[in-house]
Symmetry: C2
C-alpha cells in the first residue's frame, strides 16, 4: 500500500464527464474547475495535517501548526501559478486542545491568510482522538494558464528554487535557519506567478515529499524520464536530505530549451539541475545513476 | 467550549475584503464564491467524518462510511438550492484500514457521486490514529440565487421535509427503515432546487444536528425568533428524537406568508411546523414553551 497505489486505484474508477467543468482532476497539485462565462479557472487543493504524523504538539507551536496547515495548500496553488482566493478549514480537536490552543492556531493561520490575501470562508469542527486539520485552498489563474505537472517535454530544462534539504535538517537539529524553514515554510506564490506569466514553464510542482519522489511523480505524469545533477543543498544539510527530505516547499519546474532563466527570482536562487529525457517513464538519473524515489510516503514508512 | 463559540471567535477575526469574490463566508451551510464573468455562483462546504465520533468501524460498513461522507456535503449543497459539481476527498487511514477497506469506502462514495453527478476531482491521503475523512463538495447556483440561512423574515412560515428522528431511532435499534435512514442518508438535492426555483424559500438549512439546535441556528443567523408545534415524527421514534436527534438530513426552510406549499414534493411530505416571530434572537418556542437547543454539539457532549 503506497500513497500512489491507493490514488491510482481510485483514479482508474473516476469518470470525468464532458461538460462537468473539471479540467484537471486527481493527480496534479490542484484540481482545475472552469465555470461557464468565467475569465479565470479556479484551482483547488486539499491537505491534511495530522498530529503525530505531520507535527508533534510538544515540538510545534499552535501558531506554527496553523501557519503550516495553510502554507501547504498555498504551496500547491503556487505550483500551478495561481493566486489564492479563499480557504476552508476543517479542524478535529482532541480534549487537550482547548480555547487557547485553538486561538493561537488561528492566529498563525490568519496571519499568513492576511499576508497572501486568502479569505477564511468556512470550515467544520469536530472532536477526534488526534488533532487533525484539513484545509482546502482555492486559487485562480487566467483560463487555460495553470501550470500542470503533466506537460514536461523531452529536451526541457529542469529547475528548482532555493536550496534543498533545509526542512529535513531543521527537523533533526531543531535550530537556526533550518528549523525556521521547517516550521514556517513560505509558499512560493510570487515565483509561481512569474513561472506562469514570464517563463511560461511547461510543468511545475511543489517539493513536499522530497525531490527524488516528486521529480519521479512529475516525470510519470508527463510520461518522460529525467536526468539531473546534484541539486543545490541547504547550508549544513546533506545531499541525502536535499534529495529525499520532505517539506521544503520549493518549486520544481521545467522550461522549454533555450528559455532564459535568471539566476535569482527576488532573493531566491533558481538552479538548473537537469534535463527531461526520453526513457523509461518516471525514471530519474542522478549523475548517470538511477535515483531511488526515497522521499516521504506515509504508507511506505508509517 | 461549544462548536458555536469556537466558530464565533474565528468569525470575529476574519475580514472579507471587498472584491474578494466571497459572497457568503463562515456561518451558512456553504460558502458562496463569485468569479468575475461567471453565470453561476459556486458553493463550497466541508465536512469531517471521524471514526469513534461520527461512525464506528464495527457498526458502519466501509461503503456506508463512503456514502455518508459525501452525502453530508451534498446535503449542505441541497440546503442552498445548489447543484453538485465536484468533490475533494481527504482520507487519513489507520493501520487497520487496508486496500479492501479503502476500495469499499470508495465504492460507496463513487456510487452516490455518480448518482448525483459529482466528480471526484482530487484529495489527499495520510496516516492517522483514527480514520478521518474530510470532504469538500462544490456546487453551483445561478448568481445571487443560493438560499441562505440568514434571510428568514418575521411572518414567514417554517417547514420541514420528511419525518424527523429516524436517524436517532436507527442508531438505537439498528434495524428497519430507521437504520437505513441513519446509514444511507439521501441528500435532498431535488427538493433544494425546487425550494430555490419554485417556492423562492427565504431561508433554508439541512437538519444535521437536530431540529432544536438547527432551528435556533437559523433564527440566530436571521436575527429572529421562531414558534413551532411538534414536527412530524418518524414512525417508531419519540418526539424527543424528532426534536433533538441528529443526522436526519431533511431540509428546514422558510417561505413568505401566503406561499402555496404542496403537501408533498415527490414522495416527501412537506409540513408547516410554525412561524417566524419577532422576539429574543434565536429563541424557539414549542407549543408556547422555550425549546432548549439539545441537538448534537461535539463539544458539549464529547
Amino acid at each position: 500500500l503506497t500513497e500512489e497505489s491507493i490514488l491510482e486505484r481510485v483514479r482508474r474508477q473516476v469518470v470525468i464527464p464532458r461538460g462537468s467543468g473539471v479540467i484537471v482532476g486527481m493527480g496534479d497539485d490542484c484540481a482545475v474547475f472552469r465555470t461557464p462565462g468565467a475569465k479565470q479557472d479556479l484551482l483547488f487543493t486539499t491537505d491534511l495535517l495530522v498530529e503525530g504524523i505531520h507535527f508533534e504538539r510538544t515540538m510545534h507551536s499552535p501558531a506554527a501548526v496553523g501557519h503550516k496547515a495553510l502554507a501547504r495548500g498555498l504551496s500547491d496553488i503556487a505550483a500551478m501559478g495561481g493566486e489564492p482566493r479563499f480557504c476552508l478549514v476543517s479542524l478535529a480537536l482532541p480534549e487537550w486542545a482547548g480555547a487557547p490552543w485553538v486561538d493561537r492556531f488561528y492566529a498563525g493561520l490568519l496571519k499568513i491568510a492576511a499576508a497572501t490575501r486568502t479569505v477564511v470562508a468556512g470550515g467544520d469542527l469536530s472532536r477526534a482522538p488526534a488533532l487533525t486539520c484539513d484545509i482546502v485552498v482555492a486559487g485562480a489563474a487566467p483560463i487555460g494558464s495553470a501550470i500542470r505537472r503533466d506537460n514536461a517535454r523531452v529536451g526541457d530544462s529542469i529547475y528548482v528554487s532555493g536550496r534543498l534539504g533545509g526542512s529535513a535538517l531543521g527537523l533533526k537539529t531543531r535550530r537556526g535557519r533550518a528549523w525556521k524553514k521547517h516550521v514556517w515554510p513560505e509558499p512560493r506564490l510570487a515565483l509561481g506567478a512569474y513561472l506562469r506569466k514570464k517563463l511560461h514553464a511547461t510543468a511545475a510542482m511543489d517539493l513536499s515529499d522530497g525531490l527524488s519522489l516528486d521529480l519521479r511523480r512529475l516525470a510519470i505524469a508527463s510520461k518522460v524520464a529525467a536526468e539531473i545533477d546534484a541539486p543545490p543543498v541547504f547550508p549544513g544539510a546533506t545531499l541525502d536530505e536535499a534529495l529525499h527530505g520532505g517539506e521544503d516547499y520549493e518549486l520544481l519546474f521545467t522550461v522549454a530549451a533555450g528559455t532564459r532563466v535568471p539566476p535569482h527570482f527576488e532573493d531566491l536562487p533558481l538552479t538548473r539541475i537537469g534535463i527531461v529525457r526520453r526513457g523509461k517513464t518516471g525514471m530519474v538519473l542522478l549523475s548517470g545513476q538511477p535515483l531511488m524515489p526515497l522521499g516521504y510516503d506515509h504508507f511506505r514508512r508509517p
